[in-house]
């Protein structure tokens, strides 16, 4: 076994460092705290920065979620208020349930046609439930598992939504074109659509309640040979960038079907059909 080398200047300097460390122990308690405080602040600054950044990020996420929920609540409330025109009775308050759902999957070919969200029947989501964002309508649930649901967006080729021009109250049917916009079908040639008009849901189907924002009219190309007026619409919700959506559903205790309630909101209060005489 080798013997340690004889003490050199390095050894003496090392001993001095250790003795200085021992001397620190002899300082009064108050002085130790006083001397350590600024050094502690400097040494732990990176940790504080990380903790502070993490806290700010968490707060921003929470605030963003809160504001998104608020915006959607306001959108739905706005829709119900617009549905209550002066000549009809105000729509009953439905106490709709808004389920926040992160998007966890997309249609990989276009990123726009289909979304998978991480909420399902266990969270109260049903097939046919409308899906919206703070910006506007996103689509509807077309399949639902216990923990996930498949959303057909506005831009899926099979998607059709009955809409109405918020200004002129002209109804039409919106379908997607191939350029990521919507186009209106069955708009009469003399109908009043102008660029900049806001298009909202008409509430005529059984999926969407009346008055949800859908998009903005971007143009009405002049086609003399067309039977109907072509109206181009830019959807408010940018489907390709959505990360979180809200699914509208009714509270469980109502026991009503969503579509029925939407129809009840828009149909006349009472419709009576006279009995047909027998044999006719």
């Amino acid at each position: 076994m080798l013997r340690p080398a004889a003490a050199t200047w390095q050894d003496r300097a090392a001993w001095l460092v250790i003795v200085l460390g021992l001397a620190l122990l002899l300082f009064p308690h108050r002085f130790r705290i006083f001397a350590a405080q600024p050094v502690q602040t400097a040494l732990l600054a990176p940790l504080r920065l990380v903790a502070s950044t993490s806290r700010v990020y968490r707060d921003l996420r929470a605030e963003n979620d809160r504001l998104s929920l608020l915006a959607v609540r306001l959108a739905v409330e706005n829709a119900s208020l617009e549905a209550a025109t002066p000549d009809t009775a105000p729509a009953p308050r439905l106490n709709l349930v808004l389920t926040s759902a992160p998007v966890i999957g997309r249609d990989l070919t276009t990123f726009e046609h289909w979304l998978v969200i991480s909420r399902g029947s266990l969270h109260g989501i049903k097939v046919g439930a409308p899906v919206i964002t703070p910006d506007g309508v996103c689509g509807k649930v077309v399949a639902c598992g216990p923990h996930q649901a498949l959303v057909q967006t506005l831009l899926a080729s099979e998607s059709r939504i009955s809409v109405i021009d918020l200004r002129s109250r002209v109804p039409a049917l919106a379908r997607p074109d191939r350029s990521g916009r919507l186009i209106l079908d069955y708009a009469p040639k003399d109908s009043d659509f102008r660029p900049g008009d806001t298009i909202v849901t008409a509430g005529l189907g059984i999926v969407f309640p009346k008055g949800l924002r859908v998009g903005e009219v971007t143009g009405t190309p002049d086609r003399p040979d067309a039977l109907f007026k072509p109206v181009m619409i830019r959807p408010f919700a940018d489907v390709s960038r959505i990360e979180r959506v809200f699914v509208i559903s009714l509270p469980a205790q109502t026991g009503l079907d969503t579509g029925t309630v939407w129809l009840e909101n828009t149909a006349p209060p009472e419709v009576t059909i006279p009995d047909q005489p027998a044999g006719q």
């Binding site: 340690p4 122990l25 300082f27 001397a35 040494l43």
Partner: protein, 148 residues
Amino acid sequence: MKTFIAFILLYLLFLVQASVTPWWPDLLLLGLIVVSLHENRLTSTLAGAFAGLCLDVASPAFLGAHTVTLAATGYGVAVLRTLFYRARWATLLFTSMALALKWLAVALLGAGLPGLPALLVSSALTLLLAPLVELTLTRVLYHGWQPA
């Protein structure tokens, strides 16, 4: 340059150590042992004093305790490595000695330091991790030198 990087590494290990519970392995101690296995005696002692001072200012009630303990550890490892040069079990031995020194400091200073169960678990994990940390840090910092 390597010495400077070693000090940066010790500082990063201190940040990790300061942000975890006392049940975690003492990564700062392991880092110091690896540095002391490759640096000279003065640098090893200074590295130990630096690491100890970092720990001390984080809990200034015992300012100097960690400084002395880790400076002595650095110096001890730098001296003893000449006796057990490249022995496979040297790292474990040095870690055990350093842990013993830490226990001694805990016994002498008492309150304010981690409780006994946490110290036991932390020491066991430190011993378990010692060969792996030594191998990894040596490869990263000192170009692949490995114990014979």
